[in-house]
């Protein structure tokens, strides 16, 4: 068959491959294969694919600006690129309804295709010939390739006389090394042809099951050891129009070991019916109904008696989780250099209809002072079958453990966080029997991080829906990340006093648990910088908390330390009222003197400044 009759071409770099291609692609003739071609030039190979695979569609990516060898003066491949593009258009004209031409740089176009959630059954990589471009095209293309899909890498042996960086071979080898275990080699000569092995079938590297040091954990422990149990807690108040999608997204998780509690938090809309329909008798789900709205934090606190998992995610009822949400979070929890209170992943923003607005991935900042990058070696951790070796390497490169002394809002909001249940219980403000009309992340993220640290995963694992009701509907939005209302900011600042109160009231227990960290943790949960702490504590609310608990603080820390810590945070009459309460009415002279002389020095300092 002459695939190229009537076409206009200057070069033929294609025909001698056709025999191989026909052989490799024969089994795809009857299927509606989606083909991606990176580097189309005059459209010769595209014509082959379109005709040999009559039900296929093709996406052609090319800059139509040419590569170095096309625009170099005097190069044997020198071409007029405008003319090349015209010829491409003409040649493919008869198949226009099956061709999606994307003019642009592959590094721009390919991520866009990923954002459109496209998958291809055949990818032909024949773009720019430098090692770096070849690698990038192949790597980005690999994520667009469907399971069992075929990738053809062209010109493996091209440019052998050129420097390694300017020919494709080195890029291809680096790429193949990186996806080791995920592909089957079908052919290697002028072209390399590989097939993508579906996760769960791969033999080398990736495995079908959960493993430690390359051994299946069932076989390693006679079934005694199981992967972590994840508890999702969906908290829904009048999100009947969204909660169904949220539940569906949890049911689709590719991680098998989870339970889900759906709390209908005093809804008055059709939520109950929607929840029942979408849970649809799935035994992993339990539905709990609260007669009145407990607020998100109230419901989260309430749920802690009900969860069985070692890891917990509070899911906002208007968000959706990506299928690999639990897999990625658990893989990170199981592989960090040191364990943390919670992990926080990136979010993709969605419009109200659930369409991803991919341009606005929330950027978590991984480059922070003292952030520890990376994961433990694959062989020394629990490896999940749903996380391929290259995904593990991706996580390794895009995860950072943030030391607990970093303050401020460092995380993605709400559903993006997976906590250790033990840490949540340790910091459980109350049993949730009373409403707390505030966000769960606003309280838990700050205090869990201050006590146990956190890790950031720079990979979007859930979708955050932007709609008019974010704030009003739930009584919570996300401070620091998205522009919440001023009202919200005030409210969330006020709530930090609850954290201070909780720690101070439990000083006996927390002093032991945290050791030398107790007072730094108290300061951290305020979210204030060091120079603002005195202002923060001068609030009557804080004075009251300390005054009421002064006798206990004195007995836990001893008189000297108690007086020192009080004076480090309070001044003047406020400090003395707390000291008086701690010393049973009478401040010992030594401490009284210290307090007064401190005030006097401050007074002098201020005067001098004036």
């Amino acid at each position: 068959m002459d695939y190229f009759a009537g076409g206009r071409f200057t070069y033929d770099w294609t025909s001698h491959h056709l025999k191989l291609w026909e052989e490799l692609l024969r089994d795809k003739i009857d299927t509606a294969t989606a083909v991606l071609e990176i580097g189309s030039f005059e459209g010769r190979s595209a014509l082959f694919f379109l005709q040999f695979l009559p039900r296929s569609h093709i996406t052609c990516v090319d800059t139509f600006q040419g590569s170095e060898e096309h625009v170099e003066r005097g190069s044997q491949y020198e071409s007029d690129m405008a003319e090349v593009e015209r010829r491409f258009d003409q040649n493919l004209e008869p198949f226009a309804d099956r061709v999606d031409k994307r003019r642009g740089d592959s590094v721009v176009v390919l991520p866009r295709l990923a954002a459109e959630q496209r998958l291809y059954g055949l990818i032909y990589v024949d773009g720019d010939h430098s090692a770096a471009s070849t690698y990038t095209d192949a790597r980005l293309g690999w994520d667009l390739l469907d399971n069992d899909g075929v990738m053809i890498l062209d010109d493996y042996r091209w440019g052998r006389d050129r420097p390694a960086a300017k020919s494709p071979a080195a890029g291809m080898e680096a790429f193949l090394q990186q996806i080791a275990g995920e592909y089957e080699l079908l052919h290697r000569d002028q072209q390399i042809v590989i097939r993508k092995i579906p996760i769960g079938e791969t033999s080398i590297g990736a495995t079908k099951s959960f493993t430690i040091a390359g051994r299946d954990i069932g076989e390693l422990t006679g079934g005694a050891l199981s992967p972590p149990l994840v508890s999702f807690v969906v908290i829904n108040w009048n999100y009947g129009r969204y909660v169904g999608e949220t539940i569906d997204s949890i049911r689709r998780q590719d991680y098998p070991h989870f339970e889900c509690i759906v709390i209908n938090n005093g809804s008055t809309d059709d939520s109950a019916e929607v929840i029942a329909r979408h849970v649809d008798g799935d035994p992993r789900f339990r539905v709990e109904t609260l007669p009145q709205n407990h607020g998100q934090l109230g419901a989260a606190l309430w749920s802690l008696d009900k969860v069985n998992g070692g890891f917990v995610t509070f899911v906002d009822a208007d968000d959706v989780l990506f299928d690999n949400y639990a897999s990625m979070h658990i893989q990170v929890h199981m592989a960090l250099q040191r364990s943390v209170g919670f992990t926080s992943a990136n979010v993709a923003e969605m419009d109200p209809t659930g369409k991803a607005l991919t341009a606005s991935y929330q950027q978590l900042r991984l480059n922070r002072p003292d952030a520890q990058r990376g994961l433990r070696g694959e062989q020394t951790v629990l490896r999940l079958p749903t996380v391929s070796p290259s995904q593990y390497r991706f996580l390794d490169a895009n995860t950072a453990t943030i030391p607990r002394w970093q303050i401020g809002w460092l995380w993605a909001p709400g559903s993006a966080n997976m906590f250790r249940a033990s840490v949540l219980r340790l910091l459980r403000l109350d049993d949730g029997s009373n409403p707390r009309m505030t966000s769960a992340d606003g309280y838990f993220n700050t205090i869990c991080h201050a006590v146990a640290g956190s890790a950031l995963i720079d990979m979007p694992l859930s979708g955050y829906r932007l709609h008019a009701n974010n704030y009003f509907a739930t009584g919570e939005s996300v401070e620091g990340i998205r522009s919440g209302t001023r009202d919200y900011a005030t409210k969330s600042r006020e709530f930090t006093y609850e954290s201070v109160k909780y720690l101070i009231e439990g000083s006996d227990r927390f002093d032991w648990l945290l050791g030398a960290e107790f007072w730094p943790v108290v300061d951290r949960v305020t979210r204030e910088n060091a120079d603002k702490l005195r202002d923060y504590f001068s609030n009557e609310n804080a004075v009251g908390i300390f005054r009421r608990n002064a006798p206990q603080l004195r007995s836990v820390f001893g008189a000297k330390r108690f007086a020192k810590e009080v004076m480090a945070r309070f001044s003047g009459a406020q400090a003395r009222s707390i000291l008086r309460a701690g010393f049973g009415g009478q401040i010992p002279t030594r401490h009284l003197y210290k307090s007064l002389s401190r005030d006097f020095r401050t007074f002098l300092k201020r005067k001098r400044k004036r």
């Binding site: 040091a213 390693l220 005694a224 199981m334 040191r338 209170g341 629990l382 033990s422 840490v423």
Partner: protein, 371 residues
């Protein structure tokens, strides 16, 4: 080539009927078959005995002892130590369980490190009551700065128990802790494998050990005597449940995970090491003539107590007073005094010596009469 070493597993159970079957099964399912297993039931009052009885004829390598009294963990172990025929020993807590590759990795490291280690310690997955994983590994030795990379010795002469990739993984993930590197570098309980000869030398007197747990006593002691090695690969599971863990907090979060009371008890119990060393000073000095006093210093380090405070502790001083004559017999009067003086400070050493003289006076009434 030497014969493959034999492992003695000792499973000590008290009222862990819920978990003990998994512990026993995990020993019987080891890849490495050269072992014996002794199960000791410390007069449990729950379903334990019924559970254990089901294993009575399960395996020739298994032996079961039902005790008439609860001797605690250390007591139970000392009860059987002289019957053990292994070269290396692992004391298994009945609520933990081993992975099938546990023995092979530990024994291989003992073989490859030869006489540079008296004990090895492996990584631990913390799990909940149902066996669901909570952490990938126990924290302590991962974060400690101690230790050096393992460089295997002459491995041609030792048996090979692991595949070459596994053996290389083992070397890559292991660190050697030298005897003088004090502190706590190891995983708890079950995760450790000791050389039996060292356990026998270090064994405490049964009447003074009370509730001491075997790892708290043996691990710092054996490492100070003969060095140790840590394997940063999870090889067993450590169960966190209501009875053994304060607040249910995994150990790998850098929070205190034991209660104040139990931490104090652990520190107090470990003073038994000082008693063992002082009461058998001549024996220890014969093998550690230059490092005997350094071994003495190993005990307070895991609890973060300074040498000075430790040797001024009244319980420790009482032990030293009681065995002062043995110390002098081993080290000579001059060295004993200078070593103690360096640790206590001159003033309290003087006070200590007064106590010694007083003790001698009280301890030898016959002399007074004779004189």
């Amino acid at each position: 080539m030497m014969a493959p070493p034999k492992v003695s597993f000792v499973i000590i159970n008290y009222n862990y009927g819920q978990y003990v079957a998994q512990a026993i099964s995990s020993v019987l399912s080891q890849d490495y078959s050269e072992f014996e297993c002794v199960v000791i039931d410390n007069k449990s009052t729950d379903s334990s005995r019924d559970v254990i009885r089901q294993f009575e004829n399960a395996d020739d390598r298994l032996r079961i002892e039902y005790l008439d009294n609860n001797l605690n963990q250390m007591g139970g172990f000392l009860h059987v130590i002289d019957q053990l025929s292994g070269d290396v020993v692992c004391i298994v807590d009945a609520d933990d369980f081993l992975f099938a590759n546990f023995a092979a990795f530990h024994v291989q490291l003992h073989l490859d490190c030869g006489d540079r280690v008296a004990a090895t310690s492996g990584g631990v997955c913390e799990v909940d009551g149902a066996g669901a994983m909570l952490t990938p590994s126990y924290a302590f030795f991962l974060h400690s700065k101690a230790g050096t990379a393992v460089r295997p010795g002459n491995i041609e002469t030792v048996p090979r128990l692991l595949s070459q990739p596994d053996r290389e993984l083992l070397w890559r993930q292991s660190t050697l802790i030298a005897p003088h590197e004090h502190g706590w570098h190891w995983s708890p309980g079950t995760a450790n494998m000791y050389k039996l000869s060292f356990l026998k030398r270090a064994r405490p007197m049964l009447n003074v050990v009370n509730s001491t747990s075997t790892d708290n006593y043996f691990m710092p002691f054996l490492s100070a005597l003969g060095g140790s090695a840590c394997i940063d690969i999870p090889l067993s599971a450590y169960r966190i449940h209501g009875k053994n863990r304060y607040s249910g907090i995994p150990a790998s979060l850098d929070l205190r995970s034991t209660s104040k009371q139990s931490a104090a008890r652990t520190a107090a119990d470990r003073k038994a090491v000082v008693r063992t060393l002082a009461s058998r000073a001549r024996d220890f000095v014969s093998t550690h003539p230059h490092t005997f006093w350094t071994v003495m210093d190993a005990t307070p380090a895991p609890d973060g107590v300074s040498r000075h405070d430790y040797f001024n502790d009244s319980v420790v001083q009482d032990i030293l007073v009681e065995h002062f004559d043995e110390l002098v017999a081993a080290c000579g009067e001059a060295q004993t005094n200078s070593e103690l003086r360096a640790r206590m400070g001159p003033k309290s050493h003087d006070a200590f010596m007064a106590k010694v003289r007083e003790g001698n006076a009280r301890g030898e009434p016959d002399c007074e009469i004779r004189c």
